[in-house]
Symmetry: C2
Subunit: 622 residues, 2 copies
């Protein structure tokens, strides 16, 4: 914050505040045009700013964080679509998305690739349609219809509706994705009996070991162990290294004698099935073209929600971003990649959770702040805060090109060595880590915690009706349960509708059952007003309500609570008008602090130097 601020935040907020147009009075193209106008001045800097060391580890990390789950999903689709989709299709989809979004997106931080929900979508469509029509041509038409729908949504500024997408629906969707991970892991394991009993139990054993080692790596990353560079290395590369280690592990000793199922791969750069990359989309009855339309609607709902939520979380309140966001334009681009993916017969890519926020996180540059506080126990202590994020396009592009390299012959042979049990372990660790970071988990932990040991400074603890917290969590779990349940049926493709229904539930129903104060403590906007400028600000927030998080935002509960306490007392730091925002940050801080409980005292109360916070305030008003 002090020295190198390559770009100051550009705020045109007052204009948005005054006479904000109702979002349904459509000014066609308005959103996309504004997005491009806001971001274009930064395009050159997006390449120039990439001359930064952080880009190197971020690229390597994202390559593994993107490709590992992609491989796991390819295994799932391979098994469930009669090898219509395999490793090459999934990799090509990731490459195309990375190239398109890194070059042309408004927000190049959002990593785009193949997700769990699209895996479910693909094999459910296969179950329903493969027996009666040309599957690839049908999927292609879904993609083409969806392209049209995406573009309509982009042109009509539909992303303005994002102001109604709060943590409530994001958390439910995240919970759903986490359980899909866990379920996929178990499904992979149940298939291992095909190769015999010994290989089934060996696979389970390996999956448990992968899970445990990767979990320990994650825990080390959040501990105080080792120098922070070492710790960060273990956290960043622990999971890929674990996968590599256990891929070799099963070939030693007595395990060598056990036949294990591997990740199926095919010829380099060619489709898994014997076909060309271009789909003959005209080889399908005309009637089926129109049957593809309702599927395209479901796909579009899913992508509109999933991609926007990925983007929101990747630009969450904890990241001090300085370059403007642009949701409308990126949905337009997403339509394009969806259509092209349909023509190539590859899975449709969209924004990845949790990889997108991981990407932003890996680009954070920290600085150490000395504590000037008089607290005797911690005197002379220091803590680290995020100084800025290296916002650029190179890391996204580079990880895409690395993925392209992985499609070459030699690397495909390496991929073929990976036992399926290792990928099952990968599913488990992704699922558990996603659950740990989820807001529903945090609320459940609060509810099941010993009341006598609960800190009263926890915002949720201020809700007088404890039943309200129970009810809120119950609604979230019902939402999750409905989504997850429908995924288990032939109607699985319909799950985006339930996700979409959550938004009006939050906007219209919840305020009838909960007081405004309760909802404020239980729920919050996902991204800051700065990010939400593209879509007209957050719901129920005064747009002028500035984002105090732009400076010190290491995400520690302690510090955020301080900010909140001070906000409430109306003291110092110029927080007087920011109490709502302060609470928002406190809640996201609490969620993060749940993941980092081991670090509880790493950052103490009262350690935000006032100069620091004031600087943040100033920069926003420039």
């Amino acid at each position: 914050m002090t020295a190198s601020q390559p770009v100051e935040r550009v705020t045109s907020r007052r204009s948005t505040q005054t006479a904000e147009p109702k979002w349904w009075r459509v000014k066609y193209f308005r959103g996309m045009i504004n997005d491009v106008k806001r971001r274009a001045p930064f395009y050159w800097s997006d390449w120039k700013d990439a001359w930064d060391y952080r880009v190197v580890p971020a690229t390597v990390y994202m390559y593994f964080a993107n490709i590992m789950p992609a491989l796991a999903f390819s295994l799932d689709m391979f098994a469930k679509t009669n090898s219509s989709f395999g490793v090459n299709e999934v990799l090509l989809s990731s490459v195309m998305a990375a190239v398109v979004f890194s070059l042309f997106a408004i927000q190049p931080l959002v990593i785009v690739g193949v997700t769990g929900p699209i895996t479910v979508f693909n094999y459910t469509v296969y179950d329903i349609m493969a027996s009666r029509t040309n599957y690839f041509a049908f999927m292609c038409w879904i993609g083409l219809w969806s392209l049209v729908m995406h573009w309509i949504l982009a042109i009509t500024n539909s992303c303005n509706g994002l102001k109604y997408v709060t943590r409530f629906s994001c958390d439910i969707f995240g919970f759903y994705v986490a359980f899909i991970y866990l379920q996929k892991g178990i499904q992979v394991l149940t298939r291992q009996w095909q190769a015999g009993e010994a290989s089934a139990y060996l696979s389970i054993m390996v999956s448990l070991l992968v899970f445990m080692v990767a979990y320990i790596c994650g825990a080390v990353g959040e501990s105080k162990l080792f120098h922070r560079h070492v710790r960060k290395f273990i956290e960043d590369y622990g999971t890929p290294l674990t996968v590599i280690f256990f891929t070799g592990f099963v070939y030693i000793g007595k395990m060598r004698g056990v036949e294990l199922l591997k990740l199926p791969t095919s010829k380099a750069f060619f489709p898994t099935q014997d076909r060309s990359w271009f789909i003959s989309f005209w080889e399908i009855p005309v009637g089926d073209v129109f049957i593809a339309m309702p599927f395209a609607i479901l796909l579009t709902i899913l992508f509109w929600f999933d991609h926007n939520v990925s983007s929101l979380i990747a630009q969450g309140t904890e990241f001090p971003l300085r370059k403007p966001a642009g949701f409308h334009w990126d949905i337009f681009l997403l339509g394009l990649t969806t259509g092209v993916a349909g023509l190539l017969g590859i899975p449709f890519p969209n924004g990845l959770i949790p990889q997108a926020p991981f990407h932003t996180n890996s680009l954070c540059v920290h600085k150490t702040v000395d504590d000037s506080n008089e607290d005797s126990d911690h005197k002379g202590h220091s803590h680290r805060v995020v100084d800025h994020v290296v916002e650029q396009r190179v890391s996204n592009l580079a990880q895409g090109l690395l993925t392209l390299g992985t499609m070459s012959g030699p690397l495909l042979i390496v991929l073929h060595l990976i036992p399926q049990g290792v990928l099952a372990g990968l599913f488990f660790i992704m699922g558990i880590q996603a659950l740990q970071a989820n807001g529903i988990t945090a609320k459940l932990v609060f509810l099941f915690s010993d009341k006598r040991l609960t800190s009263r400074s926890d915002p949720i603890a201020r809700i007088e009706r404890r039943a309200a917290v129970w009810a809120f969590v119950a609604i979230e779990l019902v939402g999750f349960g409905a989504t997850f349940a429908i995924t288990q049926t032939i109607a699985a493709v319909g799950f985006p509708i339930i996700i979409l229904l959550l938004i009006p539930v939050r906007t219209f129903l919840l305020p009838r059952w909960f007081s405004a104060e309760e909802l404020r403590l239980l729920d919050a906007p996902t991204a800051s007003p700065f990010t939400m400028e593209s879509v007209g600000g957050n719901y129920g927030e005064v747009v002028d309500d500035v984002n105090a998080d732009s400076s010190a935002s290491d995400g520690s509960a302690g510090k955020d609570q301080l900010a909140e306490d001070e906000a409430e007392r109306g003291e110092a730091l110029g927080f007087q008008q920011e109490s709502a925002e302060g609470r928002t940050r406190s809640r996201s801080g609490r969620r993060k602090s749940f993941r980092r409980s081991g670090e509880g005292d790493e950052i103490e109360l009262g350690k935000v130097p006032s100069s620091h916070a004031k600087k943040g305030t100033n920069s926003r008003h420039e």
Copy 2:
């Protein structure tokens, strides 16, 4: 502390302080007689005080905590002594020890049974001698010689040497025992290939699941989750319930088809081999009787050390005990049980780590103290401290009688259902939990921690020469390495010698390499001066230096650090003359806090009501 103090501490300390006799000027029987004199007045109260609810859960908990590892060790001995020892021998040994020590010991809190080291001893003797002599008769002679040696040690007040047994040797021994656990677990698993590949991998899978679930149960016990009764239940019964659950688990689904090795059992109440319970110890060449003597010396060294250390830790500084200890008399009793065990052909029992301290811990009665501190974050918060320990003989006796019941036919059939893989998991969880609680681990964690995040209030952080900490830990690891290495050879029976050598190393060598200040921060007496009264006080401590821990001693780092800070500042609470003791407690507090890092803020700084601490001070001076 406030209301019900059944027994006030009886201190005759001044007499010990003035003109303390050198311990080698032997006044025969002096130690034993004093032990009995001090404890006899409390004998009736040891039964009367057992009318307390804590005795019920403590009994059930100790039954499982004692029998589970005993079964695991019986499996190990069964395999390695050609079934000379089996489940029945191990159970009978535990029963005998429990009855003798609960009825006649000075300190009935110490749980006595079959340990890992004696398992190593038994099968090493088997390896060396079984081919050339009558194994049982030979073991019997070892027991009889050892009986004589124990009695000599008791009569000559040898336990006065315990003042030189500090955390240094206790930690190394504990580290060694933990690694024996882990090694046994792996050895059990390697034997599973006998039943085929599928059964080997299924066993490994089950052992990993047992480990994970038991670990989670332990973690829940140290978290803030659930009401404290539920939390305590999960912590206390998590491991036994896990073992029971997974014993059933392997009989469901596809696993039913896999043949697993089970815990071998035999006829109820009969020896595993076809023999009578009484060993014909005369059926052995006279020469072998004398060959048994050096083995007996090694056994005696092991037991003197192991039993006394178990007793010390069970009476550690964190437990506010009010009834006097007696090391000399208990060594006399241990000689008796050793001889009898030899005559019955069962493994020699001795004090159990970690079960003995777990027993004391399970008998602690807590009370909640409201925080009167002004700290805004924690106002109105409360924390729990140990009020007193239910010191009695019934829980030890009752768990022994339950074990006797386990030797009956129906329960043996149940035991026979336990797959060996489950017992391997039990070894893993015991080993890892022992490592986590170990002082060497705590120092390693300190050394590998990020210096920038280390609290300066950590006592070790005050050592200016960081190399000194490294050197101290290195010496501890060399001691551990030597002990563990010798255990892997045919000379394994010799490992007690290395353990014994640690005591003079600490007393004579370490002071040459480390300053007194460094040693004070790196090492500490294991038990409080009150406990050490039986053996003439702690080494290097002024005997009058009272035990401030007798009152509030929940063992939290925060509180202890407070006490230490205050001790250093010489403020309040009458701690002025107790700074050395204060630091001692702080170190043991830190070690405990390592195990409980999740509870870091459960007990806040500055929450020891001064009336509370003063009361403790008063009671000690009565």
